[in-house]
Symmetry: D2
Subunit: 363 residues, 4 copies
Amino acid sequence: MSRCIAILNGGGDCPGLNGVIRAVVRAAVLQRGWRVLGIEDGFDGLVEGPRCRELDIRAVRGILPRGGTILGTSNRGNPFRYPLTDSDGNISLCDVSQRVVDNFHRLGADALVAVGGDGTLKIARRLSHLGMPMVGVPKTIDNDLRETDVTFGYNTAVGIVTEALDRLQTTAESHHRVMVVEVMGRDAGWIALESGIAGSAEVILLPEIPFDLDLVCEHIMRRRQAGSRFSIVVVAEGAFPRGGGKVVQATAEQTHGLERLGGIGHFVAGEIERRKGLETRVVVLGHTQRGGTPSPFDRILASRFGVQAVELIEKHEYGTMVALRGRNVVSIPIEHAVNGQNLVDPAGNLAWTAEQLGIHLGR
Amino acid sequence: MSRCIAILNGGGDCPGLNGVIRAVVRAAVLQRGWRVLGIEDGFDGLVEGPRCRELDIRAVRGILPRGGTILGTSNRGNPFRYPLTDSDGNISLCDVSQRVVDNFHRLGADALVAVGGDGTLKIARRLSHLGMPMVGVPKTIDNDLRETDVTFGYNTAVGIVTEALDRLQTTAESHHRVMVVEVMGRDAGWIALESGIAGSAEVILLPEIPFDLDLVCEHIMRRRQAGSRFSIVVVAEGAFPRGGGKVVQATAEQTHGLERLGGIGHFVAGEIERRKGLETRVVVLGHTQRGGTPSPFDRILASRFGVQAVELIEKHEYGTMVALRGRNVVSIPIEHAVNGQNLVDPAGNLAWTAEQLGIHLGR
Amino acid sequence: MSRCIAILNGGGDCPGLNGVIRAVVRAAVLQRGWRVLGIEDGFDGLVEGPRCRELDIRAVRGILPRGGTILGTSNRGNPFRYPLTDSDGNISLCDVSQRVVDNFHRLGADALVAVGGDGTLKIARRLSHLGMPMVGVPKTIDNDLRETDVTFGYNTAVGIVTEALDRLQTTAESHHRVMVVEVMGRDAGWIALESGIAGSAEVILLPEIPFDLDLVCEHIMRRRQAGSRFSIVVVAEGAFPRGGGKVVQATAEQTHGLERLGGIGHFVAGEIERRKGLETRVVVLGHTQRGGTPSPFDRILASRFGVQAVELIEKHEYGTMVALRGRNVVSIPIEHAVNGQNLVDPAGNLAWTAEQLGIHLGR
Amino acid sequence: MSRCIAILNGGGDCPGLNGVIRAVVRAAVLQRGWRVLGIEDGFDGLVEGPRCRELDIRAVRGILPRGGTILGTSNRGNPFRYPLTDSDGNISLCDVSQRVVDNFHRLGADALVAVGGDGTLKIARRLSHLGMPMVGVPKTIDNDLRETDVTFGYNTAVGIVTEALDRLQTTAESHHRVMVVEVMGRDAGWIALESGIAGSAEVILLPEIPFDLDLVCEHIMRRRQAGSRFSIVVVAEGAFPRGGGKVVQATAEQTHGLERLGGIGHFVAGEIERRKGLETRVVVLGHTQRGGTPSPFDRILASRFGVQAVELIEKHEYGTMVALRGRNVVSIPIEHAVNGQNLVDPAGNLAWTAEQLGIHLGR
C-alpha cells in the first residue's frame, strides 16, 4: 500500500543531515513507491502552515556530499514551549503541540521522521505519546547522545579539527609558542579528546575533567626543559578550571567576562602567558567544525539510518529510534534515547589512552 | 622492572602503522621507562642480522600523520617458508623460525609486537607456539579480518576512493559516459561497497557477489531512459562475472588475459561498451588507496591498539591480539584472529542498505 | 540602458566554469540591472530551440565551489559542422551557423559570452565574423591555450594529480615497485610536468619530448643502485616513444593495440617490467582530474574573467577574449587566441627546472 | 670547480621553505657535485657557532610536501641589531655583522642563500655591501613583497582560508548568523581579499581600506531584507575602522584593548551585534594559515626559486634576488626588492572585481 512519510530536522545543523533525507527518499520512493514530504525549518514548519514540499528523487540528487540541510532546521523549535506574540506584542511560551498534530494529519502523512539531537528526540517522544507515529534519527556533532555508539557529523568534526592541528604542528615548531585551539563541546569533550589524540596535542582540556592550570603550566615547562620548542593545547569550549568555594564564584565571574573576550581559549592562553611569560596564540575554529562535506563514515551512517527509518515505518514500529551498535544498525525505544548524556569517562579507556600517549588532561 | 619491547610490521603497508609504532614507544618509554627496538623490514629483519634500531621519543616525533611505516615491511616475509639461496644458486623455501627465535633472544627483548594482516598474525601464532612472547596488532586495508570490528587503514582507503567518486560526479554529468572505477579488494569488497555508498555510485561489483553483466547493462540503460546522463560503476579488483562449468574456465582465461589489459575495470568497461555502445572511461586508483596521511579515525585506532599492546605486555598476556569491539579495545587469543575472513555478507545489512538506496550490486 | 547577455559553455567540462557563470550574472544583474540567459548544452542549445533559461542571483547561489557546469556543455558542438539526420536516416555534417545567429537574435540578447577551449573559441571567432557580438572566455584544463598565462581548471587538475603522487610516495617505499601514473595531456604536457615536479616524481614523460625507454630504464636502475627502493613515473596520456622510420610505424600499431590495453601508462609499465624485470603498478587518474571543487586560484581567475567579460560588453568591445597576463586581466582580439597551442618548451625554464631537480624527462 | 653553498631561512615560517632548501640541494649536489651547508635558526646560527649541518640528498628526501622548515628560522634575527647580554645581565642591541661575515668565511662556503621576507632581504642587502656573496629568495605569506608577482606560501594560505569559508557557507545558512572570520594580513589584505572572493564572502575588510561599520551594517541588513539568512565577513587582522582626529585616537586605544579581547575580529563582531542586534560568531584561523603541506603551486615556485638561486651562484651573480614575473623566474638586484610593500590597490582590478561580484569592502 502506498504511504506518505514526512521528515524534518531539528536543532543545529550537522554534516550528514542531507544523507538521511536522501536515503529516506530513495528507500521510500524508489523501492516502495511511497511519497516523502520535507517539512521546512524543523518543527516550526509544522506549527506554521504547515510548510513543506514534496521530495522526489530529483530533489535529493547530489546532496549526499553537501553539508547543511536542504530542509533548514528549527528556529524557535519546541512546540511544547513555542514563543507566540499576543495582540499587545508580548511574547509568551505556549504549548502548540496540538496544532502540530493537526497539521501533521492535514498533510496526509503516515509517519514522521524526526532527525535531531537530545532536544528534538525529547519532543519526538512527547509527540509519540500524543499518538503521532514517530521515528527518531539521532544527530549530534558533539557525540553526546547515549544509546548509539556514535552518530553522523561527529566524525567530520573530528576530521576538521585534526586537520587544523596538523597544520599547527608544522608551523608551531619554528615559533616557540603555545598554541591554544578552542573546539566545540559544551558538555561532552569527545571532539577535543579524539582530535587532540589524532592531532598530537600536548594538553587536552575537557568539560568532564575540571583543569588545574598550575599542572598544565608545569607540564608545558617540563616539555620546554626537555627540548620541545612548542606546545599545542586543545580546549573544549565547555572546559573550566577546577576550583571550590570562592574560587568557583570568582571563576564564574571571570567566565562571564571572558566569554566577551572570546571564550575559554583566550582565558587559558592569557593565564599561561601571565603565569609563565610564554608567548601564546589562540585559534578559534568555531562553526567551521560543523560545516563542509560530510566524511564517508558520516555519509554511510546517515544513509544507513535513513534507510532503517523507512524500514521501521514499513513495519509500523513507531516510537522508536535508529542507533548504531558495533557494526549493526538497530532500533531502540525512543524512551531510552534521551536518558542522560554520553560524556567522556575520566577513568575510561580513551582518556587513559591519551595519558598513556603522554597527553596532559589538566589533572 | 625495566623491560624491552621489539616491534615489527608485516605485509603491505597501510596508513596507521606509524601510529601504532609511536603509541608503543610513548606508552613504553614515557610511561614505563622501558626500551623499544624497531625491527626493520618485518620478519626479514629478524631472520637476517637481526637488523633493528632503538626507538626513542625523538625517533617517533611527527610520524602520526604520515603514511607508510618508518620500519619498512617484509620483503620475503614468512620465516616458516623463507626463500634461501644455496651454493648452487638455487632458491628453496626453508623453515628459519628457530633463527628468528634465537635472534629475538639475542636482542634481549621481553616481547615482540607484530603488526600485520592475516599472514603476519598466522606467523605470530606459530612463533607464539614456539615460546615467543607475542602480541598481535591487526592490520588490513581491505577490512577482511575477523575478530575486530575494523582496523586502521580501511577508513583512510574508503576516504580516498570516496573523494575520487565525488570528483567524478561533478564531471561525469556533462560527458554522458559510464565511468568505471577499479578499487582495492581481492577477496573482500568492503572498500568498494562503503565508498560506493558514500560516493553515490550507481553500480557496485564485489568479489562476494559474482556479477551478471546483462543485469548491470540493463540497469544502466534504465537509468538513461529515466533521464540520467551518466553512470558510475565501482568494481573491486577481485570482482568476477557469474558463470558455471565451461564459462568459469573461459572466464579464468579471460581474466588472465585481462589482467594484462589492466584488470577487471577494463574488462567491465569493455563489455559495457561492446554490448550497449556506451562510451566508457576507466579510473584505476591503485596504490593511491593505501598511501597518504591516515584519517583521524585510523590514527586514534592505531594509537589505542599500540597503547593496549604495551598494556598486555605489562600484564604478561602473551599470545593475544588487540581488537576493537563496539567502542572498546579488547584483547583476544591470537588463535581466534585468523579463523577465516571478514567478507561482505550478500544478505547482510550493508548490502541491503546499498540496494535500498537504489544501487545495483550486479545480481 | 538595460541589456541582456547570453552565456554558454563549449567543450569538456572544467573546474571554474560555474565561477565564470556566477561572476557574469552577479556583475550583470547586481551591478547593472541587466538580464542573463544561460544557454543549455553549449552551441547545441542555440542550434536547437533555442534552449535556455534566465539566470538570476538565486540561480547562481552556492555554485562557485562546485565542479562541472550548471549549463551543461556541447554534445555535438560545432554549428559549422553540425551532425544532422536526413529523412533516410543518414547523418551528414551541415553548416547551421545561420540558425545559431537567428536563434540568438530571437532571444533578444545583446551579446554572447562563449566559455570554452580552442574549438569553442574558433567557433566564436567565426560567429563574430557573421556579426554576432561575441566575447570569449578561455578554458582549458590542459593549459594548452596561448595568449593567456593560464586559465582556470588547470591549477585544480595539477592539485589532484599532486595529491595522488603524495599518496604514492608514502606507500611506494615499502613496496620496492615502479609506479606509473597516467595523467591528462594529449598535446601539452603541463599537467604531467608541474604535478610531477610538485609530487617528487623521478621520471616525467611528455608529448613534447618523445621518450627513450632505454634511458628511462637506465635512470630507474641507477636509482636502485643508489639505494632508492622505488620510482614514480608520471606519463602524460599523449606521450609517445621516440623512433624513426619503421619504428614509428610499429609504434603506431603498438599504440593502437595499447590503447585497448589501457593506454600509454600500461605500455610504459609493461615495457619496464619486460626489460628490467621490475614489478610495476599502474594508476590511471582519468576523469578524476577534471572533477571536484575548483581550487581558490581557479575560482578567483574564473570570477575575474566573468566580471571582465561583462565589462567588455558594457564597452561594446566585441570580438575580444579575456586573458591573464602577469597579475592583470586584459582583453585581446579573439583572432589572436587561437593561433597555435601553448606547449611545454623542451628547452624552456620549467623543463630545465625539472632536470635540475634530478627528474628524468625521457631524453 | 666544486663549490660550497650555505643556506638559511629568516623570519616566520611559510609553506614552501623546505621546497627551496630541497631544490638548492638537488641542483647543487646532484647536478654540480657541490656541497650545501644548512645554517640552523636563521642568522642566529651564523652569529653563534656557526651552527650548521651538511645537507646531502638524503637530508632533503621527502621534505617537499612538508610545511615548516627543517632548518628552523631566526629567533633573534638581525645581526645588525642583535640582542646581547652583558656581564651585568643587561641586554643591548649590538652590530655583530662582522661576526657573521667571519663565521661565514670560517665555513668555507662560497655563497649564502638567504630565504626570507622584507626583514631578511634587507639584512641580506647590507651583508652584500659588506662583501658577502649573497643570493636572496623572497618569502612572504602575506604577499606583501614588491618585485615578484607572488611568492610561495601565499597560495597555500589562501587555500586554507577558502576551505574554512566553504565550511561556513554550508552551516551558516541554517543559523541565521553573521560569521566573522579573522585572517592574516597586518599591512596587506591580499589573503582576506582573494580568499574572500574564492569563499563567497559578503564583506571583506582590508588594512588598505579603512572600514565604515555603518556601511557594513547597512549592507548586512539589506541582504537580510533581500532574503539572505546569513552573512560571512572576512577581516584581515590589520584592518581598522575609518576615522579622523580624535576618533583615530580613540580607535588606537580601543584597538589596544581589543587586542586583548581577541583582535579585530571580535571587535567587528561585537559592533555588529551591538548596533544591529544580530547574532554573531567569530572564527580566528590564526597560525593554521601558515601551516600544513604547501600547495602544488607553492611547491613548484619554491623549487624554481631554489634551482634559480644555484644557477645565479654558478654565474657569480651575487647581490641578486630571484623573482617571478609572469611565467618566468628572473633575477633582480636585491636593492630593488625591499623598496616598499606590495599592497592591495583600493582602485585596482582585484578590489574592483570583488565589488563587481557584490562584495562589500567597507567603503
